[in-house]
């Protein structure tokens, strides 16, 4: 039987959800017998594959690169999981929304810069006016809250999906913690 293909995507998050994925430790070796990680910051494939069974998305949609990426992922992934509070609610990246992007950029590149003050604009993506949770950009099939969701929760979620069941996360999430 061919392996289930899995992708992990990193949008605007702190990588903590990816680290929690790695916190599955030795269970990663067992999982590797059933799944193939076909796209991820942890592997060297640079193009999102034509078709992926499960996509785990960390982070919110905060700039034009994120938006382009998540649309592509949605087109090519059969089952899309919002992994962690940033993907689910906007969480910490979304804290900029009440003020908008201009004061953020001004603080970093004018007030807190010594030389050549100015806002980077070449070969870097523009910030979106508001940070979006993933489901506001594309349809999402499952949300897994937590900051980050624990390795046990991620392992349980993947095992259930591999068995063709929808995971029951009611008792396994820790919102905001």
């Amino acid at each position: 039987m061919s392996k289930i293909t899995v992708a992990t995507i990193w949008l605007d998050g702190c990588s903590g959800c990816h680290m929690s994925f790695l916190d599955m430790d030795e269970r990663l070796m067992q999982l590797a017998e059933k799944i193939e990680l076909v796209y991820s910051p942890l592997v060297d494939i640079k193009e999102f594959p034509e078709s992926v069974d499960i996509a785990l998305v960390e982070g919110s949609v905060s700039n034009t690169d994120d938006l382009e990426k998540i649309r592509k992922v949605r087109t090519h992934a059969r089952y899309l999981v919002s992994l962690g509070d940033c993907a689910v609610t906007g969480n910490v990246p979304g804290m900029r929304n009440p003020q908008g992007t201009a004061p953020m950029l001004h603080r970093a590149y004018h007030e807190n810069a010594t030389l050549q003050q100015g806002i980077p604009s070449r070969q870097v993506p523009a910030l979106l006016p508001v940070v979006l949770p993933v489901h506001q950009a594309v349809p999402v099939d499952l949300v897994v809250p937590g900051c980050p969701p624990s390795a046990d929760t991620i392992y349980y979620t993947l095992c259930e999906l591999l068995e063709g069941r929808i995971p029951d996360l009611a008792q396994r999430t820790r919102f905001g913690a």
Partner: protein
């Protein structure tokens, strides 16, 4: 015609970035640039929030080294309280910081860079990952997983959570260590020590295979910066801030970390969200310096633990070109892992380690505070100001990877000049250029507290900067 080659995203690094390589009319490399493409705005979103929320909020800058941010942030808050944590509180913070250095260095070495060493820089990119090592090099993969788990487990025993524990707080830590957890940590030490010694024993002799990489992976003199003890030894939590020259000898007197702004300026380039810190006395961009494991080992006379000191002597006996090459970050990282394991054991054997007084309680006593500590990737600085009620009015952060920004850019330029001789560039060459970045182990979600994202895309531009052609690396 000038053209630009883009690597987008750079993979097996911790963050979001792309690399562009600028070719001149002769088709040879003019310059390479690392573009950090994420911006996060932490210096502003914290405004208006109570200072005691800062450690937990600022930890969300980075899921790889959240403990570094917890510590630098809590130290800045200690300054706001004008209170010093009790000795046991400080020692416990130190243990968590060292545990984090172990897990983060293990991630960088095994999960991200070992596929290049063990499978080869020229191997099939579809296979070049830790997941392939599970079947090709299972013992090494297991050592990597075990070392990372060792660090994460200590963090969990102390803080109840592996990622984003909220246990480090202004004034100290929120709960003491239990005798049972102390035993559990001590019991895990021998295996962890064996795992890193095994790794050093295969990695160090393999350095001779990497003469070319050592020669061109950011191999040039720069300054170094980092914290040192009063005796000039290895230090990750406190101490004095030192700038040293290429030979590792200090430049001027060490300064109090709170005075970092007298020596460090931050420049902006319009093509990256990551700013470019520089050593002010030498100006920009001449004031290039490096931080992190390589810088720390090059600057100090000793580590302070027996096995790590033996390895430090071996490292110091290497040719100057080896000690200067950013390829040697990998080697330095392993020595630091060994040191951290030994040091945790020493601290766990301190008499006062189970004391229950671990936190100083105070209200706001000062409206400005600076916290500096060594993160896995280098020196981390948090600087806050508050109003009279303790609500944050301003923050500035300088993150380890930021300090290395000038050196990363110059490093990929050096490697690109060496490897690229025509516009037809094989994948393996692009992977080597990415590998220069991996050697620095940039934590781009960190560095992009303001700014981070890495892919492989080739773009050709004309001299006016108009995009002529774009192709993706497959």
């Amino acid at each position: 015609m000038t053209s630009i080659v883009t690597i987008d995203p750079v993979t097996r690094i911790e963050g979001h970035a792309r690399i562009t390589i600028h070719l001149n009319e002769q088709g040879t490399v003019e310059e390479a640039r690392l573009h950090i493409t994420q911006f996060r705005g932490f210096e502003k979103i914290c405004e208006g929030r109570p200072f005691y929320e800062m450690p937990s909020l600022m930890a969300r800058i980075c899921g790889i080294c959240p403990v570094s941010h917890l510590i630098a942030s809590s130290k800045a808050c200690d300054a706001l309280l004008a209170a010093k944590p009790p000795r046991t509180g400080e020692l416990l913070r130190r243990i968590m910081n060292l545990a984090q250095i172990i897990q983060s260095h293990a991630l960088s070495f095994f999960h991200l860079s070992a596929p290049d060493f063990l499978l080869g820089m020229d191997s099939d990119p579809a296979q070049r990952s830790i997941f392939t090592l599970f079947s090709t090099h299972p013992q090494i993969a297991r050592d990597g997983i075990a070392l990372r788990r060792f660090g994460q487990h200590i963090i969990e025993l102390l803080g109840k959570k592996r990622i984003h524990p909220s246990w480090v707080v202004p004034g100290g830590v929120s709960a003491p260590l239990t005798a049972e957890h102390r035993e559990e940590m001590l019991a895990a030490i021998p295996d962890a020590r064996q795992a890193v010694l095994r790794t050093l024993l295969w990695f160090e002799p393999s350095l001779s295979q990497y003469e070319q990489e050592i020669a061109v992976f950011a191999n040039f003199p720069t300054l170094y910066m980092g914290l040192v003890t009063a005796e000039g030894g290895l230090e990750h939590y406190d101490g004095m801030l030192r700038f040293a020259g290429d030979d590792g000898a200090p430049i001027g007197a060490d300064i109090a970390p709170q005075q970092f702004e007298t020596c460090i300026g931050e420049a902006v380039e319009e093509w990256s969200y990551l700013k470019f810190p520089y050593y002010k006395p030498q100006g920009y961009p001449q004031g290039i310096y490096r931080v992190g494991p390589l810088a720390r080992l090059n600057m100090v006379g000793k580590c302070g633990t027996p096995l790590a000191d033996e390895w430090l002597q071996k490292f110091k006996a290497q040719h100057a070109a080896v000690r200067r090459s950013s390829f040697s970050y990998h080697y330095a990282r392993l020595i630091e892992v060994l040191y951290a394991i030994e040091r945790i054991e020493q601290i766990l054997n301190e008499e006062c380690i189970l004391d229950t007084r671990v936190r100083a309680h105070a209200d706001l006593n000062q409206q400005e505070g600076i916290g500096v500590s060594e993160a896995p990737r280098g020196t981390l600085m948090h600087h806050y100001r508050t109003d009279e009620n303790g609500l944050i009015t301003w923050a500035n952060l300088i993150i380890a990877t930021g300090h290395n920004n000038l050196a990363m850019n110059r490093g990929i330029t050096q490697a690109a000049k060496h490897y690229i001789t025509s516009a037809d560039i094989p994948e393996s060459v692009l992977n080597r250029i990415e590998a220069v970045i991996r050697a620095y182990d940039p934590c781009l979600s960190c560095s992009t507290h303001d700014d981070g994202r890495m892919a492989l895309k080739v773009q050709l531009y004309d001299p006016k900067g108009t995009l002529l052609q774009e192709k993706h690396r497959q």
